[in-house]
Structures are given as C-alpha cells and as structure tokens.
C-alpha cells in the first residue's frame, strides 16, 4: 500500500468517524447497508475504466453501456423469463463487450480521440436503448426475484449485510488486482500509458492494448447493467445508468489513477469508490440539503485531483534537486 492509498483510507475513516460523532445513526446497520448497496455497480464499472485511464484514454459511454445492457437483458426476460442468473450476467457482459469493441475500433483504427468517440457512443448507445425496448420501462414484474435477491441478501455479520453483488464486485476487484500485478497484459498497459511511443518501439502493439482496454471497459459496463436490474428491480431507458459515467470516472481519478497515464492501483480504485459511496450517504445523514449534494461531490473530485497535482509538483522538484 502506498501513501496515496493510505491517505485515501484515512479520509474514508475520518469521514466515517466525523459523521458518527455528528449522528450516531451513521453506524446504524441499516445505514451501512445503504453505503454498501451503493458500491457494487460503481466498483464494477470503475474496474473497467481503470486500465482505460491508465492508457491515457477515457470511456464516457459507460453510463449508456450500463443502460443498454440493463434494458436489453430486461427485454430478453420478457420472452425468456426462465433464464438463469449466470446466463443473464453472461448476456449482459457480452452486450457490453461488443459495445466496448466498437468503442475500441473507432478509437484505435478510425483514430478518433477517445473523448470524442465515447461522447458520440454515449448518445448512440442511449438511442439503441430506446430502440431495444420501444421506449417502454422494464417493470419490476419482469425482473425475477432470483436476480433482485442478490442485491439484498448476502453474508450478514452483526446485522450488516454484504450483498452477493458487492462480494461479486470485490471478487472482480481482487482478480483485477492480481492481473495488474501478475499479467503480461497489464504490464503492457502500464508501459503504454507511461510512454506510448517507447512502448511501440519496444514491440508492444498499441492497437492491441487500446482495443483490449476499451473492450474490457465495455465488458464490466455490461455486467454493471445486470447489477443495475438486480439492485433496482426495474429500469427505464431514459434513466438507467444515465449520468453514471461521471461517477465512474471520478472514482477512478479520486482513486489516484493518473489521468496523464502510466500509474494507478486497483486498491486505489476500490477506495475511490468507497469514498464516493460514504460521501453520498453522509450527505443524507448530515442532512445536507439535496441542492448542495452535487456541489459537495464536485468539490471532492476537485480536491482529490488538486492533491495529486500538488504532490506531483513536489515530486518533480525532488527529482530535479
């Protein structure tokens, strides 16, 4: 664990302690449940966004990928109400993967900058979502209990429930952490992000790295889409996953993944998501008026990035001395 992660953990803890002192109810099991309920979706999508940011890219379309996956799986449940849970996740993941590959191909082969491409596909995928369901909601009656139960049951310790969804997301996190450390692929991702032209001159294919990262982001978005159905029990084409992209990107940035590429850790991403989740609930517990919540969110993101920028400045001076 590096200073960046320790610092983030400290902020999360300090925030929790402060909130508890202000209002005992903060450590109420029910409240912790709501914090934990908030995390799986965010974490899953952030895990896919992580390598994309490491290679100096961005996937803004992630919110619409979540939406399209949720709605498409819901529509499928209409005609095939008996599909098993693993199958639902596999279908969602496949849809996400295809969308991610489309992003990757546009960025890698058509050479459209990632920001522009994924702003375009953000709208495109949202449009597809309306098409898939004909504008209709996915009603709670369509979403089977075996799926929704994953969000509300799990391993319960002293009245606090860690949902199966969160366990699944954390498992994905652990796998990603292992891959980041022990896979050749992630080695190439970090090298490419650190110095793209040098990576090319060392024989790393820029196309493969980029394609794989965007495909992976799509894949996790697809999984998060099914989680969305599980968590909320229904989905509307207009709102499912809408605006989520900014939270995902923010949590990765807050987690210390350098926007300029080349460095970052999975643990940082997990803690970044945790911080956003805690703040989200804290705002309610501390009775911050709803009108101010978005402002506090924005400030948190800016402060995290400011700390990064300042610490980099210090580091640079140190290296020059």
């Amino acid at each position: 664990m590096k200073w960046r992660e320790l610092g983030l953990l400290a902020v999360v803890i300090v925030l929790c302690v402060a909130c508890t002192m202000k209002d005992r109810n903060f450590i109420d099991p029910h409240n912790i449940d709501s914090i934990l309920l908030w995390m799986p979706l965010l974490l899953t999508a952030a895990i896919g966004q992580f390598p994309v940011i490491v290679i100096r890219g961005i996937d803004i379309s992630i919110g619409s990928i979540i939406g399209l996956s949720a709605i498409a799986v819901g529509v499928l449940l209409k005609s095939h109400p008996d599909l098993g849970v693993p199958m639902l996740f596999a279908i969602g993941a496949t849809i996400g993967l295809i969308l991610g590959i489309l992003n990757g191909a546009l960025i890698t082969y058509a050479k459209i900058p990632a920001v522009v491409t994924t702003i375009g596909t953000l709208t495109l995928f949202r449009g597809l979502t309306y098409m898939v369901c004909g504008g209709d909601q996915i009603d709670a009656s369509l979403v089977p209990d075996r799926l929704t139960v994953l969000a509300h049951s799990g391993i319960t310790v002293r009245e606090v429930t860690v949902s199966w969804l969160l366990i699944f997301a954390l498992l994905l996190g652990i796998i990603t952490a292992l891959l980041a450390r022990f896979s050749q692929f992630f080695g190439n991702v970090f090298a490419y992000g650190s110095n793209p032209s040098a990576a090319y001159l060392r024989g790393i294919s820029p196309n493969k790295v980029q394609m794989a990262c965007y495909a992976l982001s799509g894949l996790t978005g697809g999984i998060a889409g099914v989680m969305f159905l599980s968590r909320f029990g229904n989905a509307s084409p207009a709102s499912a996953g809408s605006g989520f992209e900014l939270l995902v990107i923010a949590s990765v940035a807050i987690g210390g993944v350098k926007i300029t590429g080349g460095s970052g850790s999975t643990l940082g991403v997990v803690l970044g998501c945790a911080l956003l989740a805690v703040i989200n609930v804290a705002l309610v517990v501390l009775k911050v008026p709803a009108d101010y919540q978005t402002l506090v969110y924005g400030l948190t993101i800016l402060i995290a990035l400011l700390i990064d920028a300042l610490s980099r400045g210090v580091k640079k001076q140190g290296a020059a001395a």
Partner: protein, 497 residues
C-alpha cells in the same frame, strides 16, 4: 577485418513525407566491428539507423541479416531479430521500476504469471555487469539521463542483441559517462557483436570506431578504415555540397551601430557566450545540432533565462522577461520547428501572416479585418508567396511558402532584430533563394539579423559574419569572406580552424 557482414543493405532508398532521405545506400556492418556512421546535419545518419531498427520502412532496396534477405517489419520485429537501437533520448517508462523497464513486454513468467522476483534477479545480474549504482527496484523516473541510458543498454543486453546501433547516444552524457559507455562498447565488440555508432563527434569516431561510413545528402560518399584516415580528410568527405549561388552582398560598405550585444552569457545549454549583431548586418551562427545555438536564441527571446552575463540592446543592459517583452524590445523570432512553434496550421493564411499585429490593429478588442488583410496581402506580396487566397488553410501551402508566411508575419512587427532558426529547412531551392534575397533586403533597410543555420552553403551565401558554436561555447568567428565549409566544420566538430 574480413569478418562476414551481420547486417548489409543493398541499394537502400528511404523516403519520408515524399522526400528522398536515403538514396541507394550500400552499407555493411560486420561482427566484432565498431562502425561509425557520420555526416553533416541532415545527411541521413539517423534515418539509416532507424531503417535497420524497423522504425522506418525502405521505399526500395534490401536488407540482409546474416546473409539472408529480411524485412524488418516493426521495432518489435527488429528486437526479435537481435537488433537493438539505443536512442539519443533514452526510451524509458518513468512510472515503472528498472526491472519492468528492462523486461517491458516480455517479463519472465512462472506458469502464466509474471515473475517479478525473477525479473529483478536477472536485471540485477545485468546491472552488475554494467557496474551501475542503482538496482532493479529503483524508480526510473528519478534516474539521471546517463543512468536511464544504462537502463536502455541493460534492456538490449537482456534481449541478447547482436547488432547494436547507438544513435547519438553520447549527446546527453558527460565525458566521464562517455568513457564508461565506450568501455561497454569495447566489451560488446570483444563478444563479437556488430556495433554501429551514429555520431557527428569526430573525436569519438577516431577514439572508438574501426570503420567509418560518411553520408552526405542521403548518399554514401565513402567507407574507410579509420587508420587510413586523418581528421581533416574526414571533414572534407563530409562537407563539399555545391554552393548554389553567389554571396549576396550588402548594399552598404559597412554595418551600422551595435544593436545587440551579449557578454559572457551563461544559461541552459550554453556558457560564456559573447556575440554582437549590428544594424544592417546578417550574422550567422553555425554549429552542430546540440551545440547550444537554439538554446541561446530561446534565451535571447525570453523563453528561457540566462543565469549570468549581460544582454545589451542599443547599449542598454536589459533582462528579457518573456517573449512579449522581447517583442516590445523590437525582437522577432522565426522558430526552428515551423509546425510546432511557428504556424497555426488549421487557420487561414491571412491570420497566419498577420497574427503578430492583431493588437496593433484592433480597437477595444475588435480586430480591424480590413487593415489586417491589407498588411497580410502586402507582406505576402513582397515575399512573392504563392497561394490561392487568404482564406486558404496555411497547412495547404508548400514548405517554402509556409516559411515565407512565418517570416513575413515577424517582419510585420517591424522588428529591429530578427532571429531566425534554420529558416530554410525543408524549403525548396527556388524559395530559398527568395528568402535569402529578402533577408538581405531587410538588413539593407537597417535590421539586425541573427541567423542560425546548419546549412553551410546558406551561411556562406547570405551572412556577413559567422560565429561557430561547439558544446555550448563560441569557438570561433570570422567574416564570411574568409570562411570556408572546412573551416567552419572543423570548428564545429571541436577542432581548430
């Protein structure tokens, strides 16, 4: 010396952006040999290195490796074939540790997992052989340039490279570090590797090389064993481009008052520089790439700042705070890299030609388009710039016309001192002549002109006086009438005139 050729090129032709860079090169690199590739700036030395390392593809011709014809598809392919290119600027990944840098893309694995411990162990063995003071866990972003260079050497060693190409590797090293590098090169040579060094440092050629190939304007002019050659002979092989035109003489018998005087200036990339530029005078600044000429120009224009010394304008000592201040003092600069620093490529010609005088031609922030248009038209006209209309994007113009636009824009400010950095690079012969004549006319009208150029015939054609820089210092000056290419090159290479 009759060892077989490890690398051989036959009738190799390379084009970049449609321009021929290498023409019909036959080159042989033998096992156990240190082969210097040398020539003037722009002769094609680095291009040859990059073709062999798979970075550029030849337009025609063949490359043989160990006698067999090969295509070197990519840098990765070159590495797989045992060819290592050590770059002038070390290729490093600042966010990764040394071991990951060395084994990037091919980390040792146990089962399918990357084995970091093994990577560190192997890296440390190689680093020990190199005798460096850092280890496999060090943070590469914090190493010095020389140490980063050592990381690159370690990388090539770990790849078991048999063909080593050093592309101006010594440029950023201290003499002590160069000596250490040469020891390593000697060891590689003893092991039977084939080594090419691309360099324009003649003393290095004579110190380390067995053979030297001289390039001039993209063709090979000679290949000699080093013991058959003297330094003056080598210089005369390198120079000798034809002078295209007669010296363009000043209309005045003598230049005017001293406009710019620099005394003992020390700053980033140059030291102890003293020069003078007078009104009605064109002063040339010759030297090799990296000699500190551009760095000096950047300081004069306020982009960087000297640490000591005096700059005087019309006799008054001043400190140039920033480019805006430089312009207020009456300086204008035409930068070396037209694309990066000179042009707004997507904007139209009219804007590009008049961008320097926007403020002077606006009323509370509103541009006077008519006046700007007039100014642009007149300056482009006086320069005989060829274009369709002012609304055309400047990127559609030829290199020569782009450069005329940039120079023209600087002249619209009516500067007292014009600093030009490689003003005719990539400009065709006809446009060059026009640029030269135009500059002379500007000087005759009273401007002081300081012109950096690596193009010796150009300096001999257009300047009145030439300073020569070598490793950050002025090593000589002469009136252009007394200068020859040989004299300038000998000084630029660090020899004596």
């Amino acid at each position: 010396m009759a060892a077989p050729a490890l690398v051989r090129t036959e009738n190799l032709n390379v084009e970049l952006g449609g321009l021929p860079i290498l023409k019909g090169i036959d080159f042989e690199l033998r096992a156990g040999e240190v082969h210097a590739i040398t020539g003037e700036n722009g002769a094609g030395k680095s291009t040859l290195a990059k073709v062999i390392a798979g970075i550029y593809q030849p337009a025609s011709g063949s490359i043989f490796l160990d006698g067999a014809a090969v295509t070197i598809k990519s840098p990765g392919d070159a590495i797989a074939k045992g060819i290592a290119l050590i770059h002038q600027e070390p290729l490093i990944f600042p966010d990764l540790d040394v071991a990951s840098n060395i084994f990037v893309g091919r980390m040792p694995r146990k089962a399918t997992m990357v084995d970091h411990a093994e990577a560190r162990r192997r890296a440390d063995i190689i680093l020990k052989q190199l005798g460096v003071s850092f280890d496999a866990r060090s943070d590469v972003g914090r190493l010095s340039i020389a140490e980063q260079q050592m990381v690159e050497l370690a990388t090539a060693m770990s790849e078991d490279a048999i063909v080593w190409i050093f592309d101006e590797t010594t440029a950023s090293l201290t003499p002590k570090e160069v000596a250490e590098l040469f020891l390593i090169i000697q060891e590689l040579k003893a092991k039977g590797c084939a080594i090419a060094i691309v360099t324009h440092h003649l003393d290095e050629v004579f110190e380390i090389a067995d053979t030297v190939t001289v390039l001039r304007d993209g063709t090979k002019v000679a290949e000699r064993a080093i013991h058959d050659l003297t330094q003056p002979e080598l210089v005369s092989l390198m120079v000798g481009r034809e002078i295209e035109q007669q010296h363009i003489k000043s209309a005045h018998a003598s230049p005017g008052a001293v406009m710019l005087s620099v005394e003992n200036l020390v700053g980033p990339g140059y030291q102890g520089v003293s020069i003078e530029v007078r009104e009605r005078e064109i002063v040339g600044l010759a030297g090799l790439v990296g000699a500190g000429r551009t760095e000096l120009a950047r300081s004069l224009f306020g982009i960087t700042h000297p640490s000591s010394g005096v700059v005087k304008v019309d006799g008054n000592a001043i400190h140039v705070k920033n480019p805006q201040h430089a312009q207020a003092l009456g300086f204008a600069m035409v930068p070396e890299d037209r694309q990066q620093h000179g042009l707004f490529p997507n904007l139209d010609i009219g804007y590009n030609a008049s961008a320097t005088i926007l403020r002077a031609n606006s009323t509370v922030g509103w541009l006077n388009q008519g006046k700007l248009r007039q100014a642009a038209l007149s300056i482009l006209e006086s320069f005989r710039t060829v274009y369709r209309n002012l609304a055309q994007p400047v990127s559609q113009l030829s290199g020569g016309n782009q450069q005329k636009t940039v120079i023209g824009r600087c002249l619209l400010q009516n500067p007292k001192l014009l600093i030009l950095d490689e003003p005719t690079r990539g400009v065709d012969v006809g446009a060059r002549r026009e640029v030269h004549q135009f500059l002379r006319k500007q000087a005759d009208d009273g401007k002081a002109i300081l012109m950096i150029s690596s193009d010796l015939p150009e300096l001999l054609t257009v300047t009145d006086r030439i300073y020569v820089m070598h490793q950050g210092r002025i090593v000589g000056q002469m009136p252009t009438g007394e200068a020859t290419e040989e004299k300038i090159m000998a000084l630029a290479f660090g020899g004596k005139a």
